[in-house]
Structure formats: C-alpha cells, structure tokens
Homo-oligomer: 295 residues x 2
C-alpha cells in the first residue's frame, strides 16, 4: 500500500496519526495558556514496561504543533527536548502546552503530558521544551560531511518477524513498523552481539503512512536499543531525548542508525540519525538512557 502526501493530507486512517491524535479543549476564560489537549494512549505502541518514548514525544509534539502553528504559523518541530518522568500506561492522557516565546522564524513552547492515578491525582509522564518553525521555508543550502549508512537492500535485511518471541511479546509497537535491520547488527538476537554498540536498518510505517516531521520524532526511538548490540539485554529507560529535525522527509523508506560510544557511570548516550530516500539527513537525535541492570 502506498500513499501520497496528498492522500495523507486528505485523511488516510493511519495508526500513527490516531496514536498521536490530540483534541484541543475550549480555552478557559482566564487566558490562553496553558492550552489543554485530550489524548488516548494506545497499548499498541507499548514497548517493555510503557508506551514508546518516541511516540509520546510525537504526541506532545503534535499538541505543540497545533498551539505554536495557530499562534505563530510555526507548526514544524525544529528542536524538541523530552524529559521522561514516569512510565506511561495505555489509557486517557492530557497534554498542557504553553508558548514561551513566539518569534519571526522560531517559536518556543513547553508541553507536559499527564495521566491520572487510580485515585484521580495527576502524575506527569513527560515534560517537553521545544522550538518550532516552518520547514517549507527552509534555506536550500546543504554543506554536509555526513554520509548515509551503507545498508544491504531492504530484501536482504532482517524483518522483526525473525526476532526472539520473548522480545516481540514485550514490543507491541513492532507490529506497526516495517523495520528491516542490517544483518550485521542483529547478532544479539542469536546470542552473539557485535559489541560495537550500533544498530541500523530501514524503517517505514506498516500501514503506508509516509514520514513527516512529527513521524521523525518516533523514528529516532523505534529501533531496539544499542545495548542489545553491547550484550546487555533488558530495557534502557530514557532520561532525556532531544531531536533536531533538519529537513522535511520525502515519501519512502527511512534509513535509521543508532549508535552508542560511552556507556559509563550507569548511563549511556544513544545517537540516532535518520536519512530519507533522497539521501538527505532529515533528523539527528541524542538520548541519555539508564544502563539496564544485569540479572
């Protein structure tokens, strides 16, 4: 199934768009900030013990796109920093956004994602600070020394249907992704991690929904953690994730590279780069994550 940007804009029923949908509440009489959005976290985006961090960032990012897009015409994420406070659960959620500054080329805002405990008290899951702009007006200069990863053709890469069942069981979101990993980076699935701290592959959404700037916030956090390639099973909770969206992606496959150089002091950084089918570097990200505990 293939969709064009026009079909997307006309409202294809995509799992990603439904999973990140937000509904703006009528503004209270007191003033415009915060704007409150209602959302529903869908268990189909679960990974390990919670909802995928990239999906949550895209959801909060969509609320900010609405707020800053309406306020200043800045609906594209340029730099988005998320700090993860507690694990999200499937169910209702609320996003509160504020505009910190609206400017000529960039506007900056905050988003806070809340859920309710059983007793009804709110608990914050994610706090976001971000700058938005308009990528369609971006300058066309490209002076880059970065080169896309060399990947085998899609059909020679490894689909997640070959992943260990124990892994698939706790990674619902893989059912929604068409992810083909470089065979050189999946030794961990056979008990033989390379030790290099690198995982790379092809990525698109299974339902044919094409990439756009918001979808890149998911793409940078959709691959298995690089710690698998370091021989460390278990999950790596994200402390902080910052994404720079560097261009609007063209339709098609994304190439995604995750790498880690410094695992130390109980933390590791995980860098991601995302390249679109035209060979352009469309997103760069870094996250600080907690090293999985052994045993």
């Amino acid at each position: 199934m293939t969709t064009t940007a026009a079909e997307q804009a006309s409202g294809i029923d995509s799992e990603f768009d439904r999973g990140t949908a937000v509904v703006r509440r009528a503004a209270p009489a007191a003033g415009p900030d915060p704007v409150v959005y209602d959302a529903e976290l869908d268990g189909g985006w679960r990974i390990g013990g919670g909802i995928n961090g990239g999906l949550l960032l895209a959801l909060a990012g969509r609320a900010l796109a609405d707020h800053l897009g309406t306020a200043a015409g800045h609906a594209d994420p340029i730099s988005v920093s998320g700090y993860y406070l507690s694990a999200s659960r499937p169910g209702p959620a609320e996003v509160r956004t504020t505009a910190v500054r609206t400017g000529r080329t960039l506007s900056t805002g905050t988003a806070a994602l809340f859920q309710q405990r059983e007793d009804g008290t709110p608990v914050e899951r994610l706090r976001v600070l971000a700058s938005y702009g308009d990528l369609s007006g971006a300058e066309q200069d490209v002076r880059t020394s970065a080169t896309p990863p060399e990947l085998p053709p899609v059909e020679q890469c490894i689909g997640t249907e070959h992943a260990p069942p124990a892994f698939l069981k706790s990674a619902d979101l893989l059912n929604r992704l068409d992810l083909r990993l470089d065979p050189a980076c999946v030794g961990w699935a056979l008990g033989k991690p390379s030790g290099e701290g690198r995982i790379q592959g092809w990525l698109r959404l299974k339902d044919g929904r094409q990439p756009d700037p918001l979808m890149l916030l998911l793409a940078v956090d959709a691959l298995p953690p690089t710690t698998f390639d370091l021989g460390l099973p278990g999950w790596t909770p994200t402390v902080e994730l910052t994404v720079h969206v560097r261009a609007r992606p063209v339709p098609g496959w994304l190439r995604v590279v995750h790498s880690t150089r410094n695992l130390a002091g109980g933390f590791l950084e995980e860098d991601a780069e995302v390249w679109d089918e035209s060979g352009r570097l469309v997103a760069q990200s870094r996250q600080l994550a907690v090293v999985p505990r052994l045993g």
Copy 2:
C-alpha cells in the same frame, strides 16, 4: 597557580563562581515554586552580541543545583537542555526555578532567566529543562569506545593572544580562559580554514579555578564556533544546547573537541566532547545553531 578542590570549597575568589553566582530570595508565603534567584550578568563573559551561552547555562544550572539540591539532594547536573530566546546583556537578571519531579536517583526541574527592558517589562533570555542527580554516587562501570582527541602538548598549541584583534575585541570571555587550540584547527585565523568543521584544544580557567560539573556547562560552549573552520565568519546564535555531564572531572586541563557534520537548511549542529586529565569523557553536548549570514 594551582588550586585544590579543598581550596575551591573554602572559597577561592573565582571569576567563574562570581559570574554564575545566584542569591535565593526568601520564599513567598504562597508556596515553594517558583524559587526566585537574583544574579548579575558580567560583561566580562561577553562574546559577539551577548553573554556566552555556556556561562548563562551554568548560571541557570547553579540556581537549579541549589533548588534540587535542597529539595532532594540532587545538586549535580546530569542532563541540561537550554533554549535561547533573546540575547542577554550585562546587568541584573532573575532566575525562576521549579521542581517538576523529585525522585530517588534523579530530579527534574525548570529554570527561566529573565532580564528587564528599559521600561521595566521582563524579557526571557533562556529557558532550561534539566535532570539533576549525585555524581559522587555514580556507578564506576566504564565501557566506552570513545577515545580522547590526539592533541599536541599544551605548549605547542595556540593561545588566544594570537587570535585576530577583531575577533578578540568581541570575545571578552577569552580573557578569562586559558585556551590552547590545536594548530591543525586554526587555519581560519590565517584565512585558510580546513573545511573539516572541527576545532579542538586544551582548556582551563585562567584564574586556576578547577573544573567541576557546573563549569563543564561553560566548557562545552567556550571554543570558537566550528563554522570558522568551515570558512564562515560571523557568529552562530544557539537555538538549543543540551549537555550530558557523564562524570565529575578531576583537577587539571580539559581537552575539548567541537565538530559539525551537517550544515543545512540554515542550521548546523555542533557536538562537543570534554575529557578530563585522567582521560575520562566527562561531558557530551550537542547544540543546534543558526548558520551565520554572509556579508
């Protein structure tokens, strides 16, 4: 001049500590948040058209260290994200901090740095979102594939006294740094930039004040911009700067590397790594900055 950690703690009169000093106001009756701190931005930390962004991050970071240190024993910056909103001027400033979440190993908070316009209205310079912890309790595991930069000995590197006078004139902060650049990275000063997008060198504070986690927030933003090495003169205003402090540095020289791979669409990323004298990677950072306009 050499100082020990004990001398520092006992109150050596350091320019960095004075430049980042904050004075907590008595809490208002209404509640603990926000905590308000008074500060004075010192023109001696000027670079280009404003106060150095790393110095501002350290100043806001010091307010958060007080707030989260008092609230939860988390006085060390672990991950600090700053979004730069307008250029700071020498003079009075105010930092307002809030605690978003206090946890067992990490606490997260916000800081907002304000100055006043001539008519007395407040204008926000910098918004910060950050997680703090206690680096003295960090796990001792180090599994890193990152290696320190190869630099010529300090005495073979280039002091800033050799920089072009036009550059020195607009970079007051260089008077407070002992910065020795790798001769391989200073071709730009002679009109022959390497084009590689890399600048590296040795760094310490001129007054002998030793590095600590807060000083690393300055260290990641203290070198000349990598765009000089790409043949682009002019200043590169920071949109966003995130710093991960990975270990408490030992006393002595720091080795700092700045590099840029992707200058495109009017923005560039600038990555920094800071290594201490023991050879440990003590900080990693990335910033998104605006490409200088030509002419």
